[in-house]
């Protein structure tokens, strides 16, 4: 890979040390950029494997050495200057400068904002009691793992990915877990009711209790430590540990001079360019997907956007056009999802949800927008090729007969 050369006086700054930032740095050097690259991250850790923070690592089943994506020697070898543990106070787009909380100015020629999300905070009485946790970072995961090992009754607030993966992981740490969420069936909106029920029932079989269609009203404690969770339906739950997984917000408080979306997301074009020598990638990027402008908060998307943004900053002109992908692991259910469907008219199931062996096709406007699998990994890998090349069959063809997916790819 290319390294820095004094003859190129440009400075590219990457704000954020997550997936997008890490892949961007490598993308810049791969494209031959020879100026300085400075990575500024609020976290002390080098870029790491964030998806594992809610899974094996949280359960104590992944050693520390699995977590970094690259070591410091690697970043030294490609001349990436690391400013870890440095919080940004302000990005001055007009002045092309970043100011850190300690007052240091970091001028740039081109900037990538890849600051990711920050967890939404609870807004109920008692939210600041000891024993209330959020999970975003590796450091959060370590603290939560230590707390989980000592805890008995864990209440999880929220039944989306972070909430349910935490429910799984805390149950693996032998905690008694209760999930509180406003949903009628967790994941029904994202995956359909049948699969939502499969996931929920799998958690129940492992001893997790659900309090659904209700919300938390108040947290109560003694000596500053949480002890009870009061619900709007009148129930009271014992809790020595509370985890709130109620979504994330784009972490763009420091940006001024750019037009942001209402939620703080940064609109980009297909090259991840936001304007005024600023690029944005990952959870914060409001990207013009084929189905419309939206933000996707998934790891693989952040990696790929970061790499594309880095390449474009270095002088390439490649649009981001990958097919989004994510996975989740909960009590032995390893679900993989390709594509993107915020909404769907219909779910076509090939296989059996009860037997935990299926492909689920999410159809909107007579087009397969996304596919999820359980125990059908090879088929979904084949479908990834078809989706990337926009060669997915019509929903009617999937409904009418069994499609041989690998054969379909071979026949392309």
């Amino acid at each position: 890979m290319t390294v820095a050369d004094d003859s190129d006086g440009r400075v590219f700054v990457i704000l954020g040390g997550g997936a997008a930032g890490a892949y961007a740095a490598e993308g810049m050097r791969k494209e031959g950029f020879q100026g300085r690259i400075i990575m500024v991250s609020a976290e002390k850790e080098l870029p790491y494997d964030r998806p594992n923070c809610s899974k094996d690592f949280l359960q104590g089943n992944a050693p520390d050495e699995w977590m970094p994506l690259r070591d410091e020697a690697f970043y030294n070898s490609i001349d990436v200057e690391l400013m870890m543990g440095s919080k940004a106070a302000k990005v001055d787009v007009a002045g092309r400068s970043l100011t850190l909380e300690d007052g240091t100015d970091v001028p740039y020629d081109s900037l990538l904002i890849a600051t990711g999300g920050k967890p939404r905070k609870l807004n109920v009485p008692g939210h600041d009691l000891e024993g209330v946790y959020y999970l975003r970072s590796l450091e959060d995961s370590r603290r939560l793992r230590d707390a989980g090992k000592k805890a008995k009754n864990v209440v999880i607030i929220g039944a989306s990915f972070i909430g349910m993966e935490c429910a799984f992981s805390m149950s693996e740490l032998d905690c008694q877990v209760t999930v509180v969420a406003p949903d009628r069936i967790p994941f029904a909106k994202k995956f359909g009711e049948e699969i939502g029920n499969l996931i929920t029932n799998t958690h129940k079989e492992k001893g997790t209790t659900f309090k659904l269609e209700t919300k938390v009203k108040e947290l109560k404690g003694e000596n500053g430590k949480v002890q009870k969770v009061l619900l709007e339906n009148g129930e009271t739950l014992d809790a020595d540990l509370v985890i709130a997984g109620i979504g994330v917000m784009p972490n763009t408080y420091m940006v001024s001079g750019l037009k942001l979306e209402d939620d703080g997301g940064i609109p980009t074009d297909v090259y991840l360019y936001a304007g005024d020598n600023v690029y944005a990638a990952g959870d914060i990027a409001y990207f013009p997907f084929p189905n419309g402008q939206s933000r996707i908060e998934h790891w693989q998307v952040a990696c790929q956007m970061g790499r594309t943004a880095g390449m474009n900053m270095a002088g390439e002109r490649v649009p981001y056009k990958e097919v989004p992908f994510f996975w989740t692991a909960q009590h032995g259910l390893s679900l993989h999802y390709t594509g993107h469907a915020d909404k769907f008219d219909e779910v076509i199931i090939d296989g059996s949800v009860n037997d935990q062996e299926f492909l689920a096709f999410y159809v909107k406007d007579n087009e397969v927008k996304a596919v999820m699998e359980l125990s059908r990994t090879s088929d979904l890998a084949a479908i990834h090729h078809l989706m990337r090349e926009r060669r997915m069959p019509e929903p009617s063809a999937i409904k009418n007969g069994k499609v041989n997916w690998p054969q379909l790819v071979n026949a392309l």
Binding site: A19, L69, C303, A381, V409
Partner: protein, 114 residues
């Protein structure tokens, strides 16, 4: 160190456009036949060790069955995340593996030199 050759497969076992995982001593290899050529690379994805043979091959691109990382089977080059280029957990790099095995191309039976 003297090298030794181990027979890993017969060419007829792999049709064009197919992949097969084989063992060379203690080492798992992925053999690929594409456009009349054979290629060999590490059998497991550099991300979390999934068997790439269970993924999907399209042209020179193999998509990993677990988290859909993508590699070029002719070079081992990492094309799509979530993996990074090489995996420090493997006892060898993909490129090294390929150069070790490249000479397998178009033999009647395939041997790996270890």
């Amino acid at each position: 160190m003297a090298s030794k050759e181990i027979k890993v497969a017969r060419t007829g076992e792999i049709k064009n456009g197919e992949m097969k995982q084989v063992k060379a001593g203690e080492t798992e290899l992925l053999l690929v036949r594409q456009d009349g050529h054979f290629y060999a690379l590490a059998a497991k994805c550099t991300h979390y060790g999934a068997p790439l043979a269970e993924g999907s091959l399209r042209g020179n691109k193999v998509v990993c069955p677990w988290h859909h990382a993508c590699f070029d089977v002719t070079t081992g080059k990492h094309l799509a995340p979530p993996a990074v280029t090489t995996c420090p957990n493997l006892p060898y790099g993909l490129t090294e593996m390929i150069s070790t095995c490249r000479y397998l191309t178009q033999c009647r039976s395939m041997h790996a030199r270890l």
